[in-house]
Amino acid sequence: MNSSANISSTSASVQSATTALVLKLSKVTKTYHTAGHSLTVLNDVSFEVGAGQTCAIVGPSGSGKTTLLGLSVGLDDPDTGAVHLAGQELGEMNEDQRAALRRDEVGFVFQNFQLMPTLTALENVMIPLELRGDRSGAKAAAELLGKVGLGDRTRHYPSQLSGGEQQRVALARAFIHEPAILFADEPTGNLDRETSEPIVEMLFDLNKHHGTALVLVTHDDELASRAQRTIRMRAGRVVEEIVNA
């Protein structure tokens, strides 16, 4: 069962004083300017995620979820406000420094899997380690693939795997370097219910096992309810924050 509260009170209640913050957005606004038009996609958005916590962001299409995700990991810059990721203010970092921060502290799971089509499953999983200069990640990657049930598919290319298998590879890739926070953008959006179920289980298991904070962007209320908190967005604003049981 879920319980709701207003934004200010839940922030205070969920965020215990002893939990370190992994993500903090403060009064973030983002407006896109096109020929003669301005469109405010995010308007004065603030929220926080502590270490090991899980948080779901829900809302209809065009409500600003993906933009919020992009801003949270420094893929884009807010017009106003500030974003702190793993204790660092993204606005003060250049492109390469943000990339290095993502490499060290962030994991990603995409709706459309986004595996490198020219790399095998094993090589895809190894990328985050290799980007850090760790060339001995093959064993760990193979083990992780084994954990997600793909121990016998390590040498297969993405095009040789089903959608569910590809997303499991993506999960292994997201956790291989034990990031501080994992962002999952509609992780089951391209999968049917039957295939989704084990993916979701793995996502939360790995989160629990590795102590990684999890930010889920989803349309699926049922999936969102498995997170400790749900932030509901509409027209670029956070309209509701729910603490799940």
Partner: protein
């Protein structure tokens, strides 16, 4: 931190190389196709450069055949034995020659004839060959000590003599042992004006003709480094009044053909590689377009822009290396095939071993330019936003590229094009002009593409039929190919047309220089009263009278108030000019091979006792350091004539018309003693024997100089130059067209996907083909036009500044280029549409 360093520094990161390899796995087929552009460009560059080297060496050897040696040293005094020994130390080989005019008597009939006797000692010529009938008689008299004389067929015909007949030369009676079929180069331009006979040096010594009173000319023919020997002579024999001549100084016989040929080959080699580079840029662009998502994913996972760029830089460089190797192999193979064809179809000894240094230089230059041209599309990789991975759009989100980085890459490109042009032309100024020209064309094409985008955005009407609207809208919508297409196809059209224009100019200019209507026969020693008779005799033999001119011999007396003796002591004027006997003429009109470049030339002089305005040949005026209005005096057989430089003429010596260093107006030299020269022309292959016999019968004192053999040598060289120009132009055109077809094909992904989508939505095959036809026709016609306009300007510049020919280009050629561009473009569009229409799902998926 590696990430803080620039992307070039990332190349030291081994993971970059591993990723470049992994990333290429599923794309190797496509990458191989992309590499074809580079292979074609580099193979064309290698083949053209090596063939250029081969052709230049072969032509230079043939030029040397115009002199027979690397250096000819001439003197009026015999060379001291000691001097010859000193020169021999710096030369590879030396042959000596002595020439003089003497009577050759035929004791059997009692006839006699003034001939130019040339006596030789040592192996000569070093370049070219003397052919005799019977064979090898030349070797017999020069190297085997045979005592005998070789004569021209016409001389025997004139006196009804035959091989084996005894002739008398001074005190020596000697047998005619052969006929000269292919003579030596003359030791001076038409020196002697008499038939030549060749004898061994020993025969001349025995003849007693080498007395002190006889005016003989002595030559040393040198094999070796002509320039080094000349420098040695300048340092060791500065006081000697020797004259030197090199093959280059004989090049005037060929006109500008060789220089034009070199310039054209440089243009070809450069164009071939720039065409290849265009192919490279478009191929890398197409490749990277397909890798956008991979780059975005890597960026999301924490790879810096520099790291991602380095991966694709490595791919491009390795692709370039492989292409350079393959291009070199193909280029060398093509060279061998072309050389084999040239050797088989002609008896031309062209090309020896493979010039590996040239091959290596061409390959490295090709590789460098290919990698440099890949940098422009690679700039984009650094700026692909990682958020592209989050969005579902097929369009990459790209941050605008930093001006500094773009400027830097453009600077590298400009520098590489300049370096390439310099490598090709060895002339910094010319390289600068070529590079500047390419930049102007590039800017022009960019402006045209912007104009097209603007025009289609603003002037497309909603009332137009859908395929027309959609086709034209494709020119300005996101994912449009307008800029890329205009730049690549426009620049390609410009280069190909420039090659064709250049080829036409060189053919036109060289054919004009090698005109068939020039003289091939000189009739000399014609007395004033014999001119009409000679003209009648020529008419009787169906031969034309081309020119007739008086020749009066004279020497320089003073220049600007200083005597020749003073000038000789000062050393400011070449000795040969001060000592030579000028043969000058007077006439009212100029001929077609000379033109006044400064001053005025009065056809008739009526100035009484004032100085006579004389027209000087430009090089002579430069040697004398005189300009219009400067005074000089000429000694005409004892009588001094005061003159002034009235005008300066440029003469095209490649035509064998009657031309003179000094030209007097009518009204001055009419009373001076001299003789006339009449020129005529025999058809190619006709013998001058009949003419020689008739002249000997009617005018025994007149000599017939047959230029047929010299003309044949010149024609052979020019013919071979044109052949090489033809082969290499054709090769460059074929290579360029292949690259441009590849460029069209590389751009197919976006359109194939759109066409597939339209097909899925229910568009008919005809609708899709109409849309693509409109888009590709507009692009093709405009690219053709935009490429043709600067090509016409380039033709104008080449015609005016280099070839001095008509600036009007061939309009049918321009029209054909534009039509070809449009047709090729439409066909490519239709082929893309056809594939998408047949298998729309595949089209969407493959993109």
């Amino acid at each position: 931190m590696l990430e803080r360093m620039n992307w070039i520094a990332q190349l030291t990161n081994s993971w970059v190389w591993v990723m470049a390899w992994r990333d290429s796995r599923r794309e190797r087929g496509r990458l191989a196709l992309f590499a074809v552009s580079m292979v074609i460009g580099i193979s064309a560059m290698t083949a053209i450069h090596t063939l250029k080297e081969d052709a230049e060496a072969a032509i230079a050897n043939q030029e040397k055949a115009l002199l027979g040696s690397d250096l000819q040293i001439s003197s009026r005094q015999p060379f001291e034995v000691d001097s010859v020994q000193q020169i021999a130390v710096v030369a590879d080989a030396i042959a000596s020659e002595t020439g003089l005019a003497s009577m050759l008597q035929f004791p059997r009939t009692g006839d006699a004839r003034l001939v130019q006797v040339r006596a030789f000692e040592g192996r000569f010529p070093f370049y070219g060959a003397v052919e005799t009938d019977p064979a090898n008689r030349w070797q017999a008299i020069t190297q085997e000590g045979a005592m005998g004389v070789l004569v021209e067929q016409a001389l025997l015909d004139q006196f009804g003599a035959e091989i084996g007949e005894t002739v008398r030369l001074g005190e020596l009676e000697v047998e005619v042992i052969g006929i000269i079929r292919k003579p030596l180069p003359r030791s001076g331009r038409f020196s002697g004006f008499a038939p030549e006979v060749y004898v061994p040096m020993e025969a001349l010594r025995s003849s007693g003709l080498l007395g002190a009173t006889v005016l003989a000319t002595h030559h040393l023919h040198i094999l070796g480094d002509g320039e080094a020997v000349k420098a040695f002579l300048d340092s060791q024999f500065a006081d000697e009044s020797w004259r030197t001549e090199t093959p280059e100084s004989r090049r005037e016989t060929l006109g500008d053909a060789v220089e034009n040929f070199r310039q054209f080959l440089s243009l070809l080699a450069m164009s071939a590689l720039v065409l290849g580079a265009i192919g490279v840029a478009s191929a890398i662009h197409a490749h990277l377009k397909r890798r956008v998502q991979s780059v975005a994913i890597l960026r999301c996972l924490g790879a810096s822009g520099n790291l991602a760029s380095a991966i694709y830089l490595v791919q491009s460089a390795v692709l370039g290396l492989v292409a350079a190797f393959a291009g070199t192999v193909v280029g060398v193979g093509l060279r061998q095939v072309v050389l084999w064809q040239l050797r088989t179809r002609t008896d031309w000894e062209i090309g020896a071993g493979i010039p590996w240094d040239v091959v290596l230089q061409a390959s490295l230059a090709g590789l460098g330019v290919c990698v440099a041209f890949a940098l422009l599309p690679l700039l984009r990789v650094r700026k692909i936003l990682p958020i592209t991975a989050l969005r579902q759009s097929t369009q990459a989100e790209v941050k605008s590229t930093g001006r500094l980085a773009t400027f830097g890459v453009l600077l590298i490109l400009t520098a590489s094009v300049f370096g390439l042009a310099w490598f090709n032309t060895s002339d910094a100024l010319r390289a600068l002009i070529m590079t500047g020209g390419l930049i102007v064309v590039f800017a022009f094409l960019w402006a045209v593409s912007r104009l097209l985008v603007w025009a289609t955005r603003h002037f497309t009407s909603a009332s137009w039929p859908y395929p027309l609207r959609q086709g034209l809208s494709n020119l300005h919508r996101p994912n449009n190919q307008t800029l890329l297409f205009l730049l690549s196809i426009g620049l390609g059209t410009f280069l190909l047309l420039t090659i064709l224009f250049g080829r036409n100019l060189i053919v036109e200019r060289t054919s004009t220089a090698n005109t068939e209507d020039g003289p091939s026969i000189y009739l000399v020693d014609v007395q004033a009263g014999q001119v009409d008779g000679v003209v009648d005799l020529l008419e009787e033999l169906d031969l034309p009278t081309l020119e007739s001119a008086s020749m009066i011999t004279m020497r320089l007396e003073s220049v600007k108030g200083r005597s020749t003796t003073e000038l000789m002591e000062e050393g400011a004027v070449p000795r040969w000019v001060l000592q030579r006997e000028f043969r000058s003429t007077y006439r009212e009109t100029l001929n077609a091979t000379e033109k006044i470049v400064s001053g005025n030339w009065p056809p008739v002089w009526s100035g009484g006792s004032g100085p006579v305005p004389v027209s000087l040949e430009a090089d002579l005026a430069a040697d004398l350091s005189v300009s219009i209005g400067d005074a000089f005096s000429m000694n005409v057989q004892g009588r001094v004539i005061e003159c002034v430089v009235g005008s300066i003429r440029e003469i095209d010596w490649s035509r064998f018309n009657l031309n003179f260093f000094m030209l007097f107006p009518n009204g001055v030299l009419e009373g001076a003693p001299g003789f006339h020269v009449v020129t005529s022309r025999l058809d190619e292959g006709d013998s001058s024997g009949a003419l020689q016999s008739r002249i000997a019968e009617v005018f025994p004192g007149i000599s017939v100089i047959d230029l047929a053999l010299l003309l044949e040598t010149v024609r052979t060289i020019i013919g071979r130059i044109l052949m090489v120009v033809g082969v290499l132009s054709g090769f460059s055109l074929a290579a360029g067209l292949l690259v441009l077809i590849g460029t069209l094909w590389n751009g197919r992904d976006a359109r194939q996907q759109e066409a597939g989508l339209l097909r899925v939505l229910g568009a008919s095959r005809a609708q899709i083909q109409s849309i693509l036809t409109v888009e590709y026709a507009a692009l093709g016609i405009l690219a053709g036009l935009a490429g043709a306009l600067p090509a016409i300007a380039a033709n104008l510049a080449m015609a005016v500044f280099i070839f001095k020919a008509s600036p009007w280009p061939s309009l049918p050629l321009v029209g054909a280029a534009i039509v070809l561009c449009a047709v090729a473009s439409i066909l490519a569009g239709l082929a893309i549409g056809q594939g998408a229409s047949n298998a729309p799902a595949d089209a969407i998926r493959s993109s």
